[in-house]
């Protein structure tokens, strides 16, 4: 045990002096999430405001003088001199934003208390256009409807058989679980794996390439002790990255502009000792699993570059189950509980929502431990081969 701790102490010291590891395991996860969250939210708000304030250029096709008056709005500029084909071409070239084409019998139908038909031509890539124009059209429609109700001398209730009142009884925790609960594990799993990659290559392939592995193998430390020391180092770096990601996410959420008070309170509740312990009980074996599969892979490489080429495709294999967990309908059950990475992502969602089944959670932790031990065993088998550890 002392020997393993000696190897661990030295590997940690060596690894933490490497700028690339510090950046990938600590700085990027801690900074990038809050910067993205706050930055993207602010940018989105600013873009939406800009789009909302933009004056839309709309062509009216047909006999539309009356309608033009009803559409009058500082946010719209109307054009009545376009032919339909020219107007469509102008929308395609972005010199017009939308076209309202009235069917020839539109106004006659409306006057006769029938339904008129119009076409709205626009590009869906133009943010907010449809909502702004349809909001205005709905207002005109409501006005016409009010007039018809008066004319027909009937009440509004006659036209509305029933109303549906939406009452959402999901808790703020459940809503939080559904919103960030899918995204958060995706991010910390990716960062955990990425953070493990570099130390694995440096401590195993790097040592082989530099020739220091031969020196270490001539010391009293056994191969098992050396490998465990290195795997523990890789695991610690991966866990640190996952922790920094979670911290970054929580900080980012707390400083989001215009965040509702109950949402903020739920975030504060989420960061409890219970949440941290439950999450880390899954993250620790997951990190060991990553350390094992990476060690078993990079030991086969003869150079740093070769090792990088080997581990890069693994990233895509890791992403797939993490992404699956974000798909609506993919739920935690007794099948998904035994699929590594997918199970931790789904369990995190449930833990945040406060709806985790403890028996299933125990099964997840045990299965992750099983996978971690298997990965460590495979890694040890590789490390025991002479052809693997020497250049």
């Amino acid at each position: 045990m002392n020997t393993i701790l000696t190897v661990l102490k030295k590997e940690l010291k060596d690894t933490l002096r490497d700028k690339r590891t510090l950046i990938s395991a600590i700085i990027i996860p801690a900074l990038i999430i809050p910067v993205l969250l706050i930055g993207v939210t602010k940018l989105q708000s600013s873009l939406m405001k800009k789009e909302g304030d933009k004056q839309l250029k709309i062509a009216l096709i047909g006999n539309t003088e009356n309608f033009k008056k009803q559409m009058e709005d500082p946010g719209f500029k109307m054009f009545t001199n376009y032919k339909i084909d020219d107007a469509k071409s102008a929308v395609a070239k972005d010199s017009l934003d939308a076209i309202l084409e009235f069917q020839p019998d539109f106004f006659a139908n409306v006057d006769e208390l029938k339904s008129g038909k119009m076409n709205l031509y626009y590009k869906s890539t133009n943010l907010m256009l449809y909502s702004r124009v349809s909001e205005k059209l709905e207002a005109i429609k409501s006005q016409i409807l009010e007039e018809r109700i008066k004319t027909l001398n009937i009440s509004k209730e006659t036209l509305t058989p029933f109303n549906v009142n939406k009452v959402d009884i999901s808790t703020a925790k459940e809503v939080l679980g559904k919103t960030i609960g899918g995204f958060l594990p995706y991010i910390f799993i990716i960062f955990c794996f990425t953070a493990c990659m570099y130390p694995a290559i440096d401590l195993i392939t790097g040592e082989k390439e530099k020739g220091t592995m031969e020196t270490l193998l001539s010391s009293p430390a056994s191969r098992f002790q050396i490998l465990i020391g290195k795997m523990l180092t890789i695991t610690i770096v991966g866990l640190s990255a996952a922790l920094m990601t979670i911290v970054g996410m929580v900080v980012g959420l707390k400083f989001l502009p215009n965040i509702p008070a109950d949402f903020l309170a739920t975030i504060n509740d989420m960061v409890s000792a219970k949440f941290i312990i439950m999450l880390f009980a899954m993250l620790i074996p997951l990190s060991i699993f990553f350390a094992g599969i990476l060690s078993a892979t990079v030991i086969r490489a003869k150079s740093f570059k070769e090792a990088q080429t080997m581990v890069t495709p693994m990233m895509f294999v890791i992403i797939i189950p993490a992404m699956l967990a974000m798909i609506p309908g993919v739920m935690l059950n007794w099948q998904t509980a035994f699929i590594p990475i997918l199970n931790i992502a789904l369990a995190t969602k449930e833990i945040i929502a406060g709806t985790i089944n403890m028996a299933m959670y125990a099964a997840i932790v045990l299965s992750l431990i099983g996978f971690a031990l298997l990965a460590a065993f495979v890694s040890y088998r590789q490390f025991s081969k002479e052809s693997m550890v020497l250049k």
Binding site: D14, E214, S219
Partner: protein, 259 residues
């Protein structure tokens, strides 16, 4: 003491390797039935061309590789049965200065001392002695990446000797070094001999072999083709330099002379 009895190291060849070596053989012997003994207080030198099997032999003694056949005893311990006990007794140094770039000389020496389970007080004494002898104090706090090749080799020596091993294994220790640094290694080997350590080293530099060794072995294509004391060697090849005699022996395929 180091004892090798009919030691062989066989490697299986892949189809690719068979093609490259232009052979139908499914395996090759890097070392084939080599036997010799190294006794304490004497310097044993292993000579041979590149790829002869010297490094493989030294790696087997250092337990980095396992012999396929035969028996190796180092300090009374079998390298297969008790490799950890063997590694406690040996100091292993290679020509390429293999150190950790982000650590300092002090940290590297501390690491290997800890791996040997050295007592703290003894460690400080040994470190001070070695650092003074090798002039490492002046750069002991710099990281390895900032040091010259000669400085790194001095740190490698300190690293291999910190635990005062009774058996020293050097694989081309002066390869690529300047004259002054190479001289310090020669002096170290002489000092180890005076202290009664068992020393085995491989080298291409005949002048060093001539200066240092008491016993000599020549390996060619994995086979031990010559082994005898330096005294006997000089008397057998009296009219030739060591280099000329070595070349002749390798060309002829040599004759085995037990040490």
């Amino acid at each position: 003491m180091i004892q090798l009895q009919n030691v062989s190291k066989q490697y299986t060849l892949s189809k690719q390797q068979q093609k490259e070596l232009q052979t139908n053989a499914s395996s090759v012997y890097a070392v084939n039935k080599v036997s010799f003994n190294c006794t304490p207080g004497r310097v044993y030198s292993l000579l041979g061309a590149n790829g002869a099997g010297k490094t493989t032999t030294l790696r087997m003694i250092a337990t980095i590789l396992k012999p396929t056949e035969g028996n190796i005893m180092v300090g009374g311990e079998n390298v297969i049965d008790h490799p950890e006990k063997v590694r406690q007794k040996i100091g292993f140094l290679t020509g390429s200065t293999n150190l950790y770039d982000r650590l300092t000389p002090g940290e590297i020496v501390q690491y290997f001392a800890d791996l040997h389970g050295m007592d703290k007080v003894l460690f400080e004494q040994r470190k001070d002695m070695l650092f003074t002898h090798l002039n490492i104090h002046e750069f002991s706090k710099k990281r390895i990446a900032q040091l010259s090749t000669g400085m790194k080799q001095k740190v490698s020596i300190a690293r291999s000797m910190i635990h005062d091993p009774s058996i020293v294994i050097f694989d081309e220790p002066t390869s690529g070094l300047d004259v002054i640094t190479a001289y310090s290694i020669i002096e170290l080997i002489k000092q180890c001999k005076v202290e009664g350590k068992t020393i085995i080293f491989s080298s291409h530099i005949m002048s060093e072999v001539d200066l240092l060794c008491d016993d000599l072995a020549i390996i060619s294509k994995g086979n031990l083709i010559y082994a005898d004391t330096m005294t006997n060697f000089r008397s057998q090849y009296i009219h030739q330099s060591l280099t000329e005699a070595f070349i002749d022996i390798v060309k002829e395929g040599g004759r085995r002379v037990p040490v």
